[in-house]
Symmetry: C2
Subunit: 411 residues, 2 copies
């Protein structure tokens, strides 16, 4: 199946937003083995939208449009697709009722404009939208499939996952269900992780295994099968294979974050955490406290940005800093031990490093960091160099510090 | 001038990266008054690249390609564009020398493949690339202009700014140019701000004034004029009009952030800052330390998540917490005064509140927060209720706390 994705919206052509919908849809289609040949972005102009839809239908089997399903005059994707396919627009009473109800729960009458959103091309299958007033549409005509989706990612993505991908998986044959599971890794770099599983990455077809780009190392397993149970079994088998190689780095799956995983372990073990941050400047505390209920296990953190704060607030001896430097294994260890004691916490993390762009010395480069973990039974320190931008450095260091804590807690 | 942007690269169609090049080029072209009608992404396939280039030339005056200028067999954009235009590929000796020199400074011989990068369509103007080995090309043929740029943004962007945009601005001649300026506000809500300027929002056509959605309140002024000076004058006049109504809330323009603005004021006044955060959990410290050079004015922060930390680390009397509660005006004030004294800082901010979803009491709802600012000459506290999600609450509180600090510093 050859696919093409058409983004409709003048905001794309003005550069106000990037076409991330095309990216995400492409990523998911490629996991289904569907090749995407073109992305198009076009403005809210019915002549030009009609032309690109017509051309897309002439060269692709599957055409997916995003955007242009709003209630205003400018929103014309559905109407234009219907015109190109020679279909009437008809009112879908069930969808109209749903839209009216969305307004009613907020105590508002539905503005007359929104009635337009319940109009769909004759014969189209509705793609339910549970996060907005614009239903999508799925139209089969001869060998062609046209899928019409709204633009906002928070509406589009669930519609893609819940309706469009399962439909396409079934069309692809060999299965009717597509399921996926994301494994989240920490404490290992991307290339090292891929090296461990390169034979699996090369040979696999169904289920597929794909590394995902982003802030952390993740692997997505996607299975096509005839039903949920079969897909789940296929995923479990692949996951088992991956875990035999990389299990010690997999901290969670799907929606888990490293901070929520660590938080859950602290809570379960009845342990508390304290933090002493220099170069991360509060980012670790911020991540820990993004988790609801973190006050149960997080006692306090000190962001000791100045040397004076390291001695006065944290009690690291000035002599230690003078002898080894503020960015040193010894200072990191002192920070971790002292914050642990000051807060009466079970475990403590400390980081000290050079985020840059300034601050390098003759012997200490930008990107150097020491991370320490203090616990009742051990004190460990790690040295890393991350040659990345300031914000990326803070992010990487926070990730590695939480990875050390996770390694300790899961023992 | 009608423009079209063609991104070449299978990685786009696999969803491995978003087409941010198209976004940025579009944004810059629209500022020049050049309308972009289409974005296309196509894979590394010469037949399909040729077809989209041919079509683009048939409907647009300006065609900009990105990507496909590397040294491998897969990289075929220049060759394909030349073939469509009926041009030979010729070796550019000066570019070959530059490429060889790039390798030489790293002590490496140039791999034979890279010679390909110095081949350019006959008659093309070279677009110098100072950040990579792939020069770009600018080709005029009849009424058509074709610009060929490499894919990596760090190579493409300087080439766009230094060569392509000045060339296009000159081509536009006495035509329209577009300039814009973004005003950034804090300390006022979106609807209150819009209420103050609703007559301007309604009547304006050129320059336009538009509130932008996002994490903070921003207003973009966009002017179309015959030259830069005229556009700047129109923007200045509109800005003056807006500042008469909302000036006290405008902390900066364009790339300024509240944390960088506050940082610059602290540096200029030779003042230092300390932080005591409860419900924001380190977010304020994290934002302050995202700014390079913040160690010059940020001394330290304490994230006092537990009540014990508020008394033990910050020295807020247990009696104050017992009498008024941890989330109270009195506790916030005590936190700010004590962290200021502990760190010997000129000014201090403190926040204590209920981020939710848990933690509400009979008298104190989720979303309640007290923010205190302690300075040599004053101690102020504010009470706010933000009924939003946990992460949004942290963001809003950090913004309001920094807004209080800015209001104090700019006096």
């Amino acid at each position: 199946m050859k696919a093409e994705i058409i983004g409709v919206g003048t905001e794309l052509l003005l550069g106000q937003i990037a076409n991330t919908n095309a990216q995400i849809i492409s990523e998911r289609l490629s996991e289904l083995g569907i090749d995407v040949f073109y992305h198009i972005a076009v403005g809210d102009n019915s002549g030009r939208v009609a032309a690109v839809v017509r051309e897309a239908l002439s060269r692709s089997d599957l055409v997916i449009t995003t955007g242009g399903l709003g209630p205003t005059m400018d929103d014309l994707t559905k109407e234009t697709v219907a015109a190109v396919l020679g279909l009437e627009m008809v009112l879908n009473q069930a969808e109209l009722t749903k839209i009216e109800e969305r307004f009613a729960v907020r105590g508002l009458p539905m503005p007359p404009n929104n009635r337009k959103q319940a109009m769909l091309p004759a014969g189209a299958t509705v793609i339910p939208n549970n996060n907005g007033t614009a239903p999508g549409a799925l139209i089969e005509q001869g060998q062609s499939i046209v899928v019409v989706l709204p633009g906002p990612p928070r509406e589009l993505l669930p519609m893609l996952e819940e309706t469009v991908l399962p439909y396409l998986a079934a069309k692809q044959g060999g299965g009717t269900i597509i399921k996926s599971r994301v494994l989240k890794l920490c404490g290992i770099g991307e290339s090292a992780a891929e090296e461990e599983i390169k034979d699996i990455l090369l040979e696999q077809t169904n289920p597929t295994l794909a590394p995902l780009a982003g802030n952390e190392m993740t692997l997505r397993i996607t299975a096509k099968a005839k039903d949920n149970a079969a897909a789940a079994a296929m995923i479990a088998e692949m996951e088992e294979k991956v875990r035999r190689r990389l299990g010690e780095y997999i901290y969670g799956v799907d929606e888990a974050t490293l901070e929520s995983t660590v938080g859950e372990l602290l809570r379960r073990k009845g342990m508390t955490l304290a933090l002493a941050e220099s170069c991360t400047g509060g980012l670790i505390a911020n991540r820990i406290t993004n988790v609801p209920g973190s006050s149960e296990y997080f006692t306090a953190g000190i962001v000791s940005y100045s040397n004076a704060a390291k001695t006065d607030l944290l009690g690291v001896p000035a002599a230690t800093i003078a002898a080894y430097g503020a960015v040193s294994r010894e200072t990191a260890a002192g920070m971790a031990e002292n914050i642990r004691r000051l807060c009466g916490a079970t475990v403590a993390l400390a980081v000290t490093g050079i985020a840059g762009p300034g601050g390098a010395t003759a012997t200490k480069p930008v990107g150097l960091v020491y991370i320490a973990l203090a616990a009742p039974d051990l004190l460990v320190t790690e040295e890393h160099v991350y040659s990345v931008t300031r914000l990326m450095f803070k992010r990487r260091v926070s990730q590695q510090a939480l990875a050390m804590l996770w390694q300790y807690l899961k023992r």
